[in-house]
């Protein structure tokens, strides 16, 4: 069960312009777990995610991934405007030399977009575009799903719905998910583990296990246990930001 999906050993990233985006960081993520990264803007969340994906090379340190089958969901849907929803979802298959669209259709279906295979992105709402993006990221049955604030631009209602969907899919398929968000509530609701980061230089300041039942329905957001956990994460987030401010 607790195989390691991702292991970072003293990974640091400095950009050529002198910004120390991530100071030496150790992190290991268990296979099949749902981990959220929270922290103020500019603390290196996206950088960490892109390092894990292999889109950025670390300045020092090593990154190991157990399985190279990955899906990545960007902050905005990042769809090809000239391609239909189905073609967008099928892209990873095509790039891999595949010609069969059945798994792309299946991925669309899984995200409740059955009737929209032939729609162009501009014909879809923001929430639907995000679903297409998630369908694309999961079409290759990845073992590791990396998501960079995927729901940040959506209204609360749509966001809650997609949170539920995402949790259900994760439970069903056993993906390892690394989820970046600004929202403490979202992180606590979704995750088994929340990692708090602070900026300048970016790094991990707290690593918290979320002790909540696996079954989380919508009204769970109003329960005391949920609110207590959120308060706990918030406190550590504020402590990190305050320490940062007084140091500056």
């Amino acid at each position: 069960m607790s195989e390691t999906a991702v292991a970072l050993r003293s990974v640091a990233k400095n950009f050529p312009n002198g910004i120390e985006a991530l100071r030496a960081t150790d992190l290991s993520i268990a296979e099949g777990s749902f981990v959220s990264l929270v922290g103020p803007s500019g603390c290196g969340k996206s950088t960490l995610l892109r390092l894990i994906a292999g889109l950025l090379a670390p300045t020092t340190g090593t990154i190991e991934r157990h399985d190279d089958r990955m899906g990545f969901v960007f902050q905005d849907p990042t769809l090809m405007p000239w391609a239909t929803a189905l073609e967008n979802v099928a892209l990873p298959l095509r790039l891999n030399g595949g010609t069969d669209d059945s798994s792309a259709r299946h991925a669309l279906q899984r995200l409740g977009l059955d009737g929209f295979a032939g729609a162009y992105p501009h014909q879809l709402s923001g929430g639907m575009q995000m679903r297409v993006s998630i369908a694309r990221a999961t079409v290759t049955s990845p073992r590791l799903l990396l998501m960079d604030e995927p729901f940040a631009a959506l209204d609360e209602f749509t966001r809650f719905r997609l949170n539920d969907d995402l949790r259900a899919l994760w439970q069903k398929h056993g993906w390892t998910v690394v989820f970046v968000t600004h929202s403490v509530q979202e992180a606590v609701f979704l995750s088994q583990r929340v990692i708090v980061m602070s900026p300048r230089p970016g790094g991990i300041v707290a690593d918290m296990r979320i002790d909540l039942p696996q079954e989380r329905r919508n009204d769970f957001r109003l329960s005391h246990t949920f609110i207590d956990q959120c308060a706990c994460v918030s406190t550590s987030l504020h402590a990190a930001t305050a320490a940062q401010d007084s140091a500056a």
Binding site: G54, F74, T78, M80, P81, A83, L91
Partner: protein, 260 residues
């Protein structure tokens, strides 16, 4: 009503201008070799039309072949320059050089070096038309969204896959914008080249017929040539616009318009 206004208003305005022109010529007894009346031009169009259309077809042929060559070479050059930044730094200045050089100043050399007049015209029209295609396509190839590029990298897309599935579709609207400009420039290039090359006779283009008629002070005929060339330019522009709309209507902002 709105659609009718779009056609009728410009048409009425044009008709009004022609009437004023016609009346002014008649009232002031202006001789034909200074400024012919619209009616005289129309008569010449009717009488010499079939003859002139033969010459026009020569001009149109040069224009279209030059535009086709400009498209093929322009896109090929843009793709090459986009793939190798070093190539862009090395060769792009020469593309600019071709663009800023007035083709009239190069024409005499080309005429000396190349014997076949059709090829001379083709080279000059190509020079006039190729730059907007190169520069627009190049800009388009470099405009792919950074996130989509990363996505392609994540799935280990080959250079060719990235070009075909990401860069070329991104560049398409830019290319079509360049093509529309180049269409007009190819015609202008052909006309200028014909005038400089001084071709004559039945095999010559319409621009040389225009020049020939004006030397003989047959202004109605010269103006008939002018009308035909302008109409050709308009049709070419319209055709490229329709082509662009066809190719982009499913997805690009420029072709989508407002949907109800």
């Amino acid at each position: 009503m709105r659609a009718a206004g779009k056609v009728i208003l410009p048409f009425l305005f044009g008709a009004l201008l022609l009437i004023i022109w016609e009346v002014a010529i008649r009232l002031n007894h202006i001789p034909q070799f200074i400024l012919p009346a619209p009616s005289a031009i129309a008569i010449s169009l009717w009488k010499d039309g079939p003859d002139l259309l033969r010459n026009l077809s020569v001009t149109v042929e040069v224009t279209l072949v030059a535009l086709l060559l400009a498209t093929i070479t322009g896109v090929a050059i843009a793709v090459a320059l986009a793939q190798w930044p070093l190539a862009e730094r090395t060769f792009f200045p020469y593309a600019v050089f071709i663009q800023v050089t007035p083709i009239v100043t190069i024409a005499p050399f080309i005429i000396i070096w190349v014997e076949n007049i059709f090829v001379v015209l083709l080279i000059l029209a190509w020079m006039a038309a190729v730059f907007p295609i190169i520069s627009n396509t190049l800009l388009g190839l470099k405009s792919a969204s950074a996130n989509l590029r990363e996505l392609f990298r994540l799935y280990r897309a080959s250079r060719w896959q990235t070009l075909r599935r990401l860069l070329i579709p991104t560049a398409l609207p830019y290319f079509l914008g360049g093509l529309r400009i180049s269409g007009g420039l190819a015609l202008i290039g052909t006309v200028v080249a014909e005038m400089v090359a001084g071709t004559s006779g039945a095999q010559s283009g319409l621009a040389s017929r225009l020049l020939e008629a004006s030397y003989r002070l047959e202004l109605p005929r010269a103006m008939a040539c002018f009308v035909l060339l302008s109409a050709t330019g308009l049709i070419l522009y319209w055709a490229l616009k329709v082509l662009s709309h066809r190719l982009l209507r499913h997805w690009h902002e420029s072709a989508r318009g407002i949907e109800n």
